[in-house]
């Protein structure tokens, strides 16, 4: 495969100044599967980077590696001035990294409001009740504020997953297919919320299958295949790269 648009030159990564996140030569296998097979990528400060690639290419695994939920076999992850590879997830979270789970990871027996409060219980408790109320209204979840999380619809759970990330007051947010399978109205709510958070200087790395959304939201697209980053560039550059498009569209999800 040609690497014309590969924006992950090692020199660039090592001079991590402008980046909030740099991933260098990251490996992780599950049995015989190399889910991360030498991943190199970076996310700039205030950047919204889109991460695309066929199913099973290792996108969610990369998120879990960066967030500390699973440990890398080897490689480096630099986040906001800290080397975080292998660090426990709660310490990484406290450094300002927030992530959503592809399958909504609800606190089932807690109410929607309690789910939001729990996200701030550790390190952002000051003003958490007010922010939870703001988040409920931003995501239009006020009417289910006192419902158990497990009683929400799939789309509402995705919104709540997103809402908890907002409560984290993070500097980098990883979103794993938050808009997949949600109603266009809910999608619109999320897009507005992302736009507002970006104004506050928050960076994003977004796994997204909806190309329309990728084009509208992301500053840059990173393409993964078989546990590696195979291309990176603007939306137009990526679309013009026919091989990348074949990789991506030739194996639909």
């Amino acid at each position: 495969m040609s690497r014309t648009n590969l924006a992950v030159e090692n020199d660039e990564i090592r001079s991590a100044g402008g980046y909030i996140l740099t991933v260098h030569d990251l490996y992780r296998h599950f049995g015989g599967i190399n889910a991360a097979n030498g991943v190199n990528l970076n996310v700039g400060r205030r950047e919204i980077a889109g991460l695309i690639g066929p199913n099973g290419s290792g996108k969610s695994t990369l998120f879990s590696l960066v967030a500390g939920t699973i440990k890398p076999d080897r490689g480096q992850i630099h986040f906001d001035g800290h080397e975080i590879a292998g660090m426990s997830p709660h310490r990484i979270a406290r450094l300002g990294l927030a992530r959503t789970f592809q399958i909504p990871a609800m606190f089932d027996n807690m109410t929607v409001t309690e789910n939001l409060l729990a996200a701030a219980a550790q390190d952002h408790w000051q003003g958490a009740h007010e922010r939870a109320a703001d988040t409920l209204s931003l995501l239009k979840l006020e009417h289910v504020a006192d419902n158990r999380a497990s009683d929400l619809s799939g789309g509402q759970q995705k919104l709540l997953e997103f809402g908890r990330v907002i409560m984290r007051q993070a500097s980098l947010i990883l979103l794993d297919e938050v808009t997949a399978g949600v109603h266009p109205n809910i999608r619109k709510i999320m897009l507005e919320a992302i736009a507002r958070l970006r104004e506050r200087g928050i960076s994003f790395l977004i796994i997204e299958h909806d190309m329309e959304m990728v084009r509208n939201v992301c500053d840059r697209i990173i393409v993964m295949d078989s546990g590696r980053v195979v291309a990176s560039g603007s939306f137009n550059e990526i679309v013009r790269n026919s091989e990348v498009m074949q990789t991506y569209l030739g194996r639909p999800q």
Partner: protein
């Protein structure tokens, strides 16, 4: 969140009624009330970890027994310490053991913790059985003190304190949010910055020392203890069934289950003596809960009872090896 204050009304009513109880009933029933308060407290102690954190402890009687034996040993020769000085001693001894058991195993999947607590209680029982200073199988006598009112009010104070602490910590504070979050989804709780291993250990410590306090009071009350009477596995079994029947992970469930089952136990004993009937009732209660009442008796009063992802589901998933409370 105004609705939570409603739960204070029955609490105050119950406290007033219970405070007046010695003036209303004879010593026989006062003893039963003392026992009911103890079981309500013990069930609550088990529920702290089992219900709020979703970690099943099959060795809680070990901590009840540690409190009982610490008090018995310190009140006897040669130290003859006053009773109330032995309670904190029991707490310290219990806390040390809880850290030794909990710190390594609470990091692992829930099934390991369950097995470790069960094995710990077994080993401790055998140890107390064979060593000399605990009196072996023969047990220990405590200085007799035959004031039923004293024990009633002491147990009452311990129970009220237990429920107040549980309410304040697990229902009203952000600590409770962290505990419930890790119960329902441990990886997500970690992603919220919560040090789940630490929070679990703190909860386990509180649960263990609470059982130890009731063990201390129990030993002084009955004036004689042996390994079977304070370390017996049936003590843990009863706590588990009381909590499941009353409502796992709720504030009032353990009180309802604890008082209810203990009173049933005494009524059976009065009418038929020491039969296996009570054991059959415990078994039936478990079947009832597992098949029809995942949220226990308190679930019957819930406006929107949980159907999926219940607290029971979370705890069972852990026992079955599911990671962090979800399958």
């Amino acid at each position: 969140m105004k609705y939570r204050w409603v739960s204070l009304v029955p609490l105050i009513a119950a406290i007033v009624l219970l405070a007046l109880l010695p003036a209303l009933v004879n010593n026989y029933w006062l003893r039963i009330a003392t026992g009911a308060l103890m079981w309500a407290g013990l069930a609550c102690s088990w529920n702290m970890l089992g219900g709020y954190a979703g970690y099943i402890n099959f060795g809680q009687s070990a901590f009840f027994g540690l409190g009982a034996y610490t008090s018995a040993l310190l009140m006897g020769d040669p130290l003859s310490l006053p009773f109330f000085a032995t309670i904190p001693a029991g707490i310290v001894v219990t806390a040390i053991f809880a850290i030794i058991i909990g710190a390594p195993t609470l990091r692992l999947r829930g099934a390991y913790f369950a097995i470790a607590t069960w094995a710990f209680a077994e080993v401790l029982t055998q140890f107390v059985n064979v060593v000399d200073f605990t009196g072996g199988i023969g047990g220990l006598n405590l200085p007799p003190f035959l004031d039923e009112r004293f024990f009633y009010f002491t147990m009452f104070a311990a129970a009220v304190l237990t429920y107040l602490v549980t309410w304040a910590l697990f229902e009203r504070s952000r600590f409770g949010l962290k505990v419930k979050a890790l119960r329902d989804h441990e990886p997500a709780a970690e992603a919220m910055g919560i040090n789940t291993a630490l929070v679990k250990l703190q909860t386990f410590l509180l649960s263990a020392v609470t059982a130890s306090v009731f063990g201390s009071i129990f030993a002084y009350w009955v004036t004689f203890i042996n390994p079977k009477s304070v370390f017996g596995g049936d003590i843990t079994d009863q706590m588990v069934v009381m909590v499941l029947l009353g409502g796992l992970g709720s504030l009032w469930g353990p009180a309802i289950g604890g008082v209810g089952l203990f009173v049933v136990n005494r009524l059976i004993w009065m009418n038929w003596g020491d039969t296996a009937f009570y054991i059959a009732i415990l078994g039936a209660a478990i079947v009832l809960v597992v098949l029809f009442l995942p949220n226990g008796i308190v679930g019957l009063f819930a406006k929107r009872p949980a159907r999926s992802g219940t607290v029971l589901d979370k705890a069972v998933n852990r026992l079955a090896g599911g990671e962090g409370g979800h399958s």
